[in-house]
């Protein structure tokens, strides 16, 4: 970032230098940036570097570390079947929950964007799951998912569908976790998309209406394209969030049954804070970081094709 005299002048309340070299300007600015810079270098970049160093060691957090080089990384691919499995399950969670979550949030945003009475109340209702204690709501969902006495299977039974065992099945446990995750993230995504919807000027809809466009065509050709920057933002944060999915599996299934919901973030937690394999946990964290980075870079590279900023 380049700092101009005028920028500095404004930021320093007009007391900044009127002229001078770039170096001179930095010398003046650095004391103000120093506290933030130190904090960031120490607690963000420093921590990342430390984690990378730990990933090259065998360390249990209590006894001295032992340098193992890239052995932890090699072991992940060569010997650790749970690593591959947790990565696949994280991809499964991401591929299903992100599109489902965005579509559900968009529908909710469109619904609460109507000019109806009690709309603030409806918006609050949609947003509530996101701010409620996850442990408390997980207890409710455990009951909802009960295969014999749960409300979900009771409702399915009303339409002659024999409900699955949900959390007790290796096949249905992950879908159950995904449904819970989408429900929980709905309100947050909805608020962002709602802000995007309200930023679209009415003139476009009025013009389309004059041209005789149907509601669906107005939504498809006006709302979706003009909402695409917001949708892209929601997509990126949802992707990152889904790669890091932890709470849902922690409170609902603890990675089970039979590792069916073992996600990479939960596996890192087990390795680090249950089994004290800090080296392996750090290596896993860097693999997760790589995966998130690759997917995010891909998204940024293809966004030009579907995100419209004008």
């Amino acid at each position: 970032m380049k700092l101009s005299d005028s920028t500095l002048g404004r930021s320093l309340g007009g007391l900044g230098p009127r002229r001078g070299s770039g170096l001179h300007q930095w010398v003046q600015v650095l004391p103000f940036l120093f506290p933030t810079l130190v904090g960031m270098l120490l607690f963000t970049h420093g921590a990342v570097l430390a984690a990378f160093f730990i990933s090259l060691t065998r360390w249990d957090a209590f006894t001295p570390w032992v340098w193992v080089g890239l052995d932890n990384y090699k072991d992940l691919f060569a010997a650790d079947t749970l690593f591959t499995r947790s990565m696949i399950q994280t991809a499964y969670y991401t591929l299903v929950s992100v599109p489902l979550g965005i579509v559900a949030a968009l529908l909710a945003a469109v619904l609460v964007n109507q000019k109806l009475r009690f709309m603030t109340f409806y918006r609050t209702v949609f947003f509530l799951p996101g701010i409620t204690s996850i442990v408390a709501v997980a207890m409710v969902w455990l009951w909802l998912y009960n295969p014999d006495f749960g409300v979900i299977n009771w409702l399915l039974g009303m339409v002659n569908i024999d409900g699955p065992p949900w959390l007790g099945s290796t096949k249905w446990a992950m879908p159950a976790v995904i449904i819970f995750g989408v429900w929980r993230g709905l309100g947050y995504n909805m608020v962002i998309l709602l802000a995007g919807l309200q930023g679209i000027p009415d003139v476009y809809y009025e013009a389309a209406e004059v041209d005789g466009a149907s509601k669906f065509r107005r939504f498809w050709h006006i709302t979706l394209p003009l909402l695409s920057p917001t949708t892209f933002f929601v997509l990126i944060i949802s992707l990152i969030g889904s790669f890091q999915v932890f709470e849902q599996t922690y409170v609902l299934t603890e990675g089970g049954p039979a590792y069916a919901t073992m996600t990479i973030a939960y596996y890192i937690f087990l390795q680090a804070f249950q089994w004290f394999h800090m080296g392996i946990a750090s290596a896993l964290a860097f693999m997760l970081f790589l995966a998130v980075m690759v997917v995010t870079v891909l998204q940024f590279s293809v966004q030009r094709k579907w995100v419209h900023y004008d």
């Binding site: 209590f62 295969p147 014999d148 099945s169 290796t170 089970g256 049954p257 039979a258 249950q274 089994w275």
Partner: protein, 497 residues
Amino acid sequence: MKRTLARRRLLRAGLVSGAGLAAAALAGCGETQIVEREVVKIVTQEVIVEKIVTQEVIKEVAVEKVVEKIVEVEKEKIVEKIVEKIVTVEAAQPKKAAVALQFNTWWGTVEEYEAEVGDPFTAQNPHITIDWQVTPWGEYWQKMQTQAVSNQLPDFFGQSVAINWDWANKGLVFNLGPVIKRDIDVSKHYTSIWQQARYPVPGHPDQYMMPMETVMSLIYFNVDLFDDAGVDFPEPTWTFNDWEEAGAKLTKTEDGKTTQFGLWGQNSNAFLDAFINSNDGLVLTPDFKTCLLDQPKSVEMIDRTVGWISQGMGPTAAQAADIGGGAQLFTTGRLAMDITGSWQVDAYLKSTDLNFDLMMVPTGPVRRVIYGGPDSWAISSGSTHFEEAWEVIAYGISEERSYKNFPLGRIASNIAVSTSEDFRKKGRVPGYKYLFDSVEYIKGADFGPSWVEWRNAFSNELAPAFLGEKSAQDAATAATEKIQSILDKVAWPAGLE
């Protein structure tokens, strides 16, 4: 108080001496010359306060006897006597430096610890004060681990048998073996349970935590459901055949679905390990180095447990999933019998609608084995007050400690405390006495190295068998392979690799 008493006694002594002198004076007025001599020897002794009281009582008697003798002496006109008087003087003891200990655990309440352990202990040891802390189980280990990493563990703390081995191996706790040998009369304790606290293997003299109390598994049965089904209550003579027979009678189905489960034996250390052991099967070898879960005797019992679920007698993990890990099935009358830990007694007694009782775990095909494990206290290796912390622990397992401080469903380590009438009455249900009868059959769940890690593999690898997705043999084989790979990585102490 002590000063007042001492003064009174000194006054009495003075009076006696005065009486002696008066007698001598009276004798002097008569015709017969009486020679009277009184010798008062003052011996100074340095004794502790408690001893002073005892000694003074004895002296009081002695003084009274002297008075009687004086009367006799007058008659015989022999006055010369020696009154030996020992005056004990409270010596200034070397003042011990004040020590403030920190303690944390996950069970009980701070008020209980203060009232039942802290206050009586501090009364005897005024220089030691204890800051009691209780952190709920959910957050306890996270807190302790963080403190351990930063070398800020409390001086002594509640220790789990599940991680004792690993913490001892990492040098986070002190070895209590030498002080146990020095200070504890082991014949007063259920020492068979202490074997689970030994490191690195049972039988070794090193012990890195002190069991304070023990939990164990029991049959919990719903009295009303038994009455409704006309099934006899469980007996101490029951085998697992009787258990299965009763379970089948107590199971109710409606439209092909089980509406009332007859029994439940969980895929957990509170049941399955002991069930396997009762058939002479093993999960791990006694040296914790080899997994034998895939051996026929072990697989047979896994298969038998899976059968209860596949026959509809027992709930699946999903059917039992709730806050209490299945407790609500029992409290709501949808489960007739359950074998689980004695820690549930407290919760079930609070459930006013539940009419339940307890029974010992049945005998297996070969013998009776009951799961049990101690809740213990350990001393942090970072503590600079080892002796003081040990004094509190030694008090905590002594018969001086009140029975009130032991939660329901726990047997105190001290036999005298556990067998006291008050302690036994705590359970309030007739079958509570079976906790005490169960002690001799208790075995832990191979609480050795990397227990938390290999236990995760145990549950997850066996789960497909319980879900009907794999045979018991296949699941046990996969579990054995995974567990063995974890055990193979254990950093054993030198000489035991």
